[in-house]
Amino acid sequence: MTEVDNFTEQIINDKNKTNVRCQFCNSLMLKALEGKYCEQEIDVPLMEQKKDSAVDSLNTETLRHFWQIDDMMTFENIGFSHTVDGRKFLVCADCERGPVGYHELATKRCYLALQRVVHSDK
């Protein structure tokens, strides 16, 4: 997981400086310079939920820093959840941990949360 303090050093010309990978299994999600940095306040479900919590009573946290990807085919490896309220959540294609971001059906854009991935070329 990438700490908030280190975000600025991940950005070069508004793009991701290095490859973006899963924080658990290191699976390659996005290659360097393929995502555009953007800030917005979005509630994203936590990766761990209480066993009895229903989908409509989610534990979420507000995330602010994202890589915006306009075409989903830009990803190297990624999984898409079923749709919930016009969004699909992004997960690691290999270990399936997530959500690491979301896909907005209306705009077809994807947003990958900096805080839920690692930034590393290897």
Binding site: M47, Q49, K50, K51, G79, S81, E96, G98
Partner: protein
């Protein structure tokens, strides 16, 4: 933005419930006390990037998500599919017999030229085997498609199967592109002749046209 890949193939997994299709693509996991948010809502599809002969290929892989239980797999699901993995369970005779029905379903709903491959899954459960490998091979030969035994659980042949299917679709696509270019070339030839009837018995030869690059590239835009 420029495309960063050469090909994009949509692939589907088809077969009876319980044959392990979902395991081939997904591996839902949860412990006794916590569930992940994702395992509750489920995964719709995945994008994977592979490389074959220096070409970058994006695979978009879909699971039927239990639709097959109700036999409601329809044209909508098959739309745009270029490859289909037909999956049976080697420990379930019935799932093997049903492959014929699935092939009929595909013939009725999918594009006629969709590339198919047969997978006998759960090959790690050899002591419970009801369908011999030879019968799988025989069925595949009958339909003129490729066959592999896989184990999603033991990670046997799963990646190989996807690479094989993708490679066959790629070969088919490239062959078609050559045919299309030949078709365009012939069209151009006809146009050229219609617009500029040969004078003085001079016929435009193939080699002459080939060297006229700018003219050819204009034609291929038509």
């Amino acid at each position: 933005m420029a495309k960063t890949y050469d090909y994009l193939f949509k692939l589907l997994l088809i077969g009876d419930s319980g044959v392990g299709k979902t395991c081939i693509l997904f591996r839902f996991s949860e412990d006794a006390f916590n569930t992940t948010f994702i395992s509750t809502i489920g995964i719709d599809f995945k994008i994977r990037t592979i490389e074959l002969d220096n070409k970058k290929i994006k695979l978009q892989i879909w699971d039927t998500a239990g639709q097959e239980r109700f036999r409601t797999i329809t044209t909508a699901y098959y739309r745009g599919a270029m490859g289909i993995m037909l999956v049976y369970d080697i420990t379930q005779e019935k799932s093997f017999e049903n492959i014929k029905n699935w092939i009929r379903n595909i013939e009725e709903n999918a594009a006629a030229d969709v590339e198919k491959m047969l997978l006998g899954n759960k090959c790690e459960l050899n002591d419970k085997r009801q369908v011999s490998k030879e019968r799988g091979e025989q069925l595949a030969i009958e339909y003129g498609i490729k066959f592999m035994e896989t184990s999603a659980k033991a990670s046997i042949n799963v990646e190989e199967a996807f690479l094989t299917l993708a490679s066959d679709i790629k070969a088919k696509t490239e062959k078609r592109m050559v045919l299309y270019k030949v078709f365009l070339f012939n069209q151009c030839l006809l146009l050229q002749e219609a617009n500029n009837p040969p004078k003085g018995g001079h016929q435009l030869k193939l080699t002459e046209i080939r060297t006229k690059d700018s003219w050819l590239s204009r034609c291929s835009l038509l």
